[in-house]
Symmetry: C2
Subunit: 357 residues, 2 copies
């Protein structure tokens, strides 16, 4: 097991990474203000891991209730969130009851938001079971739900008490979702650490085969980079926006294709290629850099090109993204591989060339 | 105009109190990160004051959109809140768009919660138009909505940028609601300032006649006491709970009688009398203190006795209140007039005697 601390003053918390963590209640119990928890999971993950986590916690004297949500981004809605509130109120959960998110990013985002709002804030612990959620949504404190007019538009910043990333749970993850998680891992290399990018290029086959040492390192380094960025800018004033490399384009792809058709990581992968191409258009990256970006994305089993969408659809969808200020679209681009920058200075002609090739 | 500052470090904000503030956009504009606002009001208040506030803001160069919600506690729900999100997203409101709550406590709580959640947090300004919201919900940062199983169960702490309490708006407030607001004013005297209680006893007729100097003083002193308590305990760890004098009983009355039948302030008034009676039962207050409590409540036009409810209904409803810890009911009682205490040590026999007289 490796442990990393996200440094946020009195809201600092540990991320534990490694095999077999589901059974280790001693990593959770010290964070509970009361030995009472509500595990929130989904219909896919609960049959695989809920009993084990429950047994471990009950063995440590914790009273465990649970609520199982339908699985999928389509259910990241108020209606589903309300099932958590119904369960909490039905069980008379109190302000010191801790929520535990057992599942992927959707479960984590919704559980975190439920914890942020229930009685105006209760503690929560993340037990992410997908690579995407292990490297991404378990660091940063972003929680929320979707609105028909935009993704993640309703939410809160709410930090967990602890994160347990059990790498064993990736054994049951579909290959397509593993690849989607690798998109975010690649992102950390692209925005902040060209050496990590090179390590990923050399180790992609081991990662896709779930080699334990490789996967633990990839998660650890990804969380480390994200934690550094988040610690420097907890509430997304500036630097933190670089974590959105590929996301402005990616959200437009997800929205333009209908949520759920492209996985978030797939859309981000294609979005990172678009960001690289835009960066080349601005003279920051060379052809070889763009080729390298496409190659690592392909090696991870991800799409290296965006789907065809009308130009107006792109602009419309990107305008709903949160990275808008004063009505002007802002993009995260690459000054070079390993160094992201934020810019509002992308001419529409350049965008049009790249989006409608 | 009187101005009071709620001292919360970098989230400190002013409360302006006095006549004619609706027209004074210069009190709002310095708090806007962008000259763009969304006014949230309700179907009762909007026809009275929305045009005036809008004209003042537009005169100061602010772009003003609005959304008008149905009026009443029954609409303090997710469905109504979603009308605000629909409007914000429909207007493409950004992270620097400011929400302005124009209305009573329900509008304030929902607007504040919408501001807390929209894109994970945007600024908001309170323009409370009822006495209750001027003395109570505009200080403290509590926002939220109701759930079928409990009042204010879903919410957030989110501080406004500024509060404008225009005392002229009380002219259109029904007398019954003015009395309900006075319940909270009386509460501040009971929990923290016996001299203010005496001043209220001497000036109740002037207050009910909306004498400008008297009403401004009552609002100012109430906000001052609440601000002191909140500044000492922003997130409700301890002291702040004294603000809930009468509320545990009051919530049970509101819930037991069906929300909307008793006004919140009416239920709190009867709840404060029950708290005084319980305090006498524990030997803290004398008969004269209880009589004085009942008399000031009656003088304000408020009920000085609770409705008849089955004992189990009381216990059941109070158990859903947020002031529960470790399954034990906690009460805010009076050590003496002007000094509230929090206790978990009320024997069930005592409760039964007081609730089922």
């Amino acid at each position: 097991m490796q442990t990393l601390t996200v440094d946020l003053g009195d809201r600092s918390y540990p991320i534990h990474i490694g095999p077999g963590l589901l059974d280790r209640a001693e990593l959770i119990v010290p964070h509970l203000p009361q030995k009472r928890v509500m595990v929130v999971s989904n219909a896919t993950v609960a049959p695989l891991y809920l009993a084990r986590l429950t047994a471990a916690l009950e063995g440590a004297g914790v009273t465990v209730a649970n609520v199982v949500l339908p699985d999928g981004e389509a259910y990241k809605t108020w209606e589903t969130l309300n099932l958590v509130f119904d369960a909490l109120l039905g069980q008379r959960a109190e302000r010191k009851t801790t929520l535990i998110a057992l599942g992927g990013g959707v479960v984590g985002d919704m559980t975190g938001f439920a914890a942020a709002c229930y009685q105006r804030g209760v503690p929560f612990v993340q037990v992410p079971t997908t690579l995407l959620s292990q490297v991404d949504s378990s660091v940063g404190g972003k929680t929320g739900i979707n609105h028909p007019l935009g993704k993640n538009m309703i939410g809160a910043f709410h930090q967990p008490q602890a994160v347990l990333a059990d790498t064993d749970t990736l054994q049951t993850l579909p290959a397509r979702e593993l690849s989607a998680g690798l998109a975010e891992v690649i992102k950390y290399g692209l925005i902040r650490d060209v050496e990590f990018l090179a390590w990923l290029e050399a180790n992609m086959a081991r990662l896709r085969a779930l080699d334990p040492a490789a996967i633990t390192h990839a998660i650890h380094r990804s969380c480390e980079i994200k934690a550094q960025v988040v610690a420097a800018d907890e509430r997304e004033g500036g630097l933190r926006a670089i974590l959105n490399l590929g996301h402005t384009f990616g959200h437009a792809i997800e929205s333009g294709m209908g949520y759920g058709n492209w996985l978030h990581g797939e859309a981000v992968a294609a979005g990172m290629v678009l960001a690289a191409q835009t960066s080349r258009r601005l003279g920051w990256l060379g052809d070889a850099d763009v080729a390298r970006t496409r190659a690592i994305v392909r090696a991870a089993g991800l799409p290296d090109a965006a789907p065809e969408l009308p130009f107006d659809t792109w602009i419309e969808s990107m305008g709903h993204d949160k990275k808008v200020e004063g009505g002007r679209l802002r993009f995260v681009l690459l000054k070079q591989l390993g160094e992201a920058v934020i810019t509002g200075e992308v001419p529409e002609t350049a965008l049009r060339e790249i989006l409608i090739p």
